[in-house]
């Protein structure tokens, strides 16, 4: 059977007219990347509203805006949504969009599997939210501890939806991980060795191994929990001999690598942003790359630090306390690499760069409070208090979300052909960062004063109302500043003419391609001789491979 080229072109033209069908059936990595980002945005709005509901409930002592039961559902959904259906899809969005472009490939290795991963993640999220209509949302916290997750304690079907929703999303994540690894291994531009990968690609690559190593233990635990709830098995049912600790072990064996799964691609984004906006190469490429591998390996050996309060004994606690301190080292190395990159560079304070610099500060605070937890007596003192909430939001928001926002401002021109308004962006940045610190910094103090997390209200103790009021005000400031971001995106999307490509004088191959979603990435590639192929192409006199790069390679 002969297929004529003109027929294909004709089909393509009519197909483009069906705009919805085009998105639904797309296997183009750029279109899928954009859909990931939209899904992340959708769930971000939902999860954000949940956060504001919680903060409204906590605005003053003995408040009854939300009932305890609803409050349990809201905080569970907030955590689950933000981790599985905001941070993961947002980072996957950047990865499937940018990674092929940065290594000079025209698509992911398995485009159809890419689409499958996206849709199954979306449907996982929708199923999770369907629980609201099916009797009640899950209500045992995002890590869903046994035995609270058993039917005896949570009789609505919420946790069943939690299991199925996360299983589907988990399958999607594993297949994306496989896809990323094969793409990096097989589809790099000729001449680009693994040591020449842009750092964002390198970190995504290492991250993909974390994904396929960590998600299966969650999937197994979820399957076992589903058997418990639906077929009356006894895995986590303490009353009939099961083990609540088994759930904790299996969950955190996934859960701790998971927090690195959420931060590593963000580290990758920062590594690109610091270089371009300091107009310098990364300081100590091999240290950044190597410490990423160290983080990935160590992350599988620290899960018990979530369980210090469960009485596993001093030897176990001491071992995991030490390993948790150890994992701070490679992260600390990276902080110095980024500082070294900025040192002596000609820095441009764009919104993207501002978020990256703010990250350095906020993430260091979050990192230090994290190190504090590995000192076991401190952990015992503050576990399950707002100190933990503060720590976690400093690394998740100040680390991962700032990374996504930094990446959004950095790459928006690539995503849409148009550039976000920098002036509005800067106002947004300052409001958001101030709101963020107002919300979460005071929670450190509340935690040390003994305010427990996940309790729907609190008594009127000295300073409790004041500090909580400050926290709630900060949360609404963040919410308001996000409206500014949405307006910025809306305004930019409405702009008629496209902005010029390569607005930041970028280093890596994604800026070489002018392709927009749905178009082919590269017709031809330059010869790849260094880690900054596009820089070499633009400034042949100053090309890296001609200069001092030889001994460093």
């Amino acid at each position: 059977m002969e297929i004529r080229l003109s027929d294909i072109e004709k089909n393509k033209a009519t197909y483009k007219d069906y705009r919805i069908l085009r998105w639904l059936t797309s296997v183009d990595h750029k279109e899928i990347g954009i859909m990931y980002l939209w899904v992340a945005l959708l769930f971000f709005v939902v999860g954000g509203i949940e956060a504001l509901l919680m903060r409204t409930q906590l605005v003053m002592a003995n408040n009854h805006f939300l009932s305890p039961d609803v409050y349990n559902q809201i905080f569970t959904m907030h955590g689950t949504t933000m981790i599985f259906f905001v941070m993961m899809p947002a980072l996957f969005g950047f990865q499937v969009y940018m990674m092929p472009l940065m290594i000079g490939a025209n698509d992911m290795a398995f485009p159809r599997m890419n689409a499958f991963s996206f849709w199954i993640t979306l449907f996982g999220g929708l199923l999770l939210y369907f629980s609201f209509f099916a009797g009640g949302a899950p209500n045992a916290g995002w890590f869903n501890y046994a035995p609270l997750n058993e039917s005896a304690y949570s009789s609505t079907s919420g946790i069943d939806y939690y299991c199925i929703g996360l299983l589907l999303a988990g399958i999607g994540s594993v297949s994306t991980g496989v896809n990323i690894i094969v793409t990096v291994l097989k589809y790099r531009a000729p001449g680009m060795s693994l040591k020449m990968l842009p750092l964002f690609v390198w970190m995504s690559f290492v991250n993909a191994f974390l994904i396929i190593g960590a998600l299966p233990s969650l999937n197994a635990a979820l399957s076992m929990l589903l058997l418990d709830r639906q077929l009356h098995a006894h895995f986590f049912n303490v009353a009939s001999g099961g083990s609540a600790l088994l759930w904790q072990h299996m969950f955190w064996l996934f859960g701790h690598p998971e927090v690195y799964i959420i931060i590593l691609p963000a580290f990758g984004i920062y590594s690109e942003v610091f270089q371009v906006f300091s107009r310098k190469r990364i300081y100590g490429y091999s240290f950044v790359a190597g410490s990423t591998v160290a983080i990935a390996l160590l992350s599988f050996g620290v899960w018990v630090h979530h369980m210090f309060a469960t009485g596993l004994g001093n030897t176990v606690n001491a071992f995991f306390g030490a390993s948790s301190m150890l994992i701070g080292v490679p992260t600390g190395i990276k902080i110095f690499n980024w500082l070294g990159t900025m040192y002596g560079g000609s820095i441009r304070f764009t919104v993207s760069m501002l978020f990256a610099i703010a990250f350095l500060i906020e993430f260091t605070i979050g990192g230090l409070t994290g190190i504090a937890f590995s000192i076991i007596p401190i952990d015992w003192q503050v576990t399950d208090t707002y100190y933990v909430v503060a720590h976690m939001h400093y690394v998740m928001v100040g680390g991962s979300l700032f990374g996504v926002l930094s990446g959004l401002f950095y790459w928006f021109q690539k995503l849409s052909g148009k550039q976000l308004d920098e002036k509005l962006g800067k106002i947004f940045f300052w409001l958001f960062v101030i709101g963020f610190n107002m919300t979460f910094f005071v929670q450190h103090i509340l935690g040390i004063m003994g305010m427990p997390r996940r309790v729907y209200t609190y008594p009127d103790l000295p300073y409790f109302t004041l500090l909580n009021l400050c926290s709630t005000a900060g949360a609404f400031l963040m919410g308001g500043s996000l409206l500014l971001l949405f307006y910025n995106i809306y305004k930019t999307a409405r702009k008629k003419e496209l902005d010029r490509s390569d607005p930041w004088d970028g280093f890596t191959l994604e800026w070489l391609s002018t392709a927009l979603p749905g178009q082919k990435n590269f017709e031809a590639l330059p010869e790849i001789k260094s880690r900054r192929p596009y820089w070499d192409l633009k400034y042949p006199d100053k090309a890296d491979w001609k200069n001092d790069d030889k001994e460093r390679k």
Partner: protein
């Protein structure tokens, strides 16, 4: 790619085995295994599943030699051996259910059915893929060069290896002590 999927699957099964082993004492596995499970017939089934890895290897070998007919025969032999294994496992389940031994019957029931059940599910998925390969072979798909046979092969051997681990842990070790 299949290797990465297998890597992920390995950790999935390791988690399930962890779930099985962690109730070893509290679930009184040793006495339960000796009382409930049929060691001999399962040993025969294990032998059959291991042979199916060998027949698949023979199929792949003949594919490389270009022997289309032998390829089909060995492929069919693999499917039959795999099916016999699943039927045998189904028979064991049926016998246990007749004795009112269910997933909800105590820790051992929970752990036993979950671990062997997930393995059985993987065998069934493998069989579906093998049947597709067989249909492809019948329509002379393998006259061309293709990597699909070796890719599915990795999966099939993996399912086999998992069973060896499961068989050792569930059936053999209780008899050692």
């Amino acid at each position: 790619m299949m290797l990465l999927v297998i890597g992920s699957e390995t950790i999935f099964f390791l988690s399930l085995i962890l779930g099985y082993v962690s109730f070893w004492k509290s679930g009184n596995y040793v006495s339960a295994v000796k009382a409930m499970l049929d060691f001999k017939s399962t040993a025969v089934l294990t032998f059959l599943l291991i042979s199916s890895s060998f027949t698949f290897w023979m199929a792949e070998h003949n594919y490389k030699l270009g022997e289309q007919k032998k390829l089909k025969i060995w492929l069919l032999a693999t499917i039959i051996l795999g099916s016999v294994f699943i039927i045998g496992q189904g028979h064991e389940y049926y016998r246990l259910l007749q004795q009112n031994f269910k997933l909800s019957s105590g820790l051992f029931g929970t752990a036993f059915y979950t671990l062997t059940g997930f393995h059985g599910l993987h065998v069934i998925i493998g069989l579906v893929m093998l049947i597709i390969l067989f249909i492809l072979a019948l329509s002379n798909f393998f006259e061309k060069r293709s990597t699909v046979l070796s890719t599915i092969g990795i999966y099939w051997h993996f399912v086999d290896i998992v069973w060896i681990a499961v068989f050792t842990i569930v059936y053999v070790i209780p008899y050692l002590s």
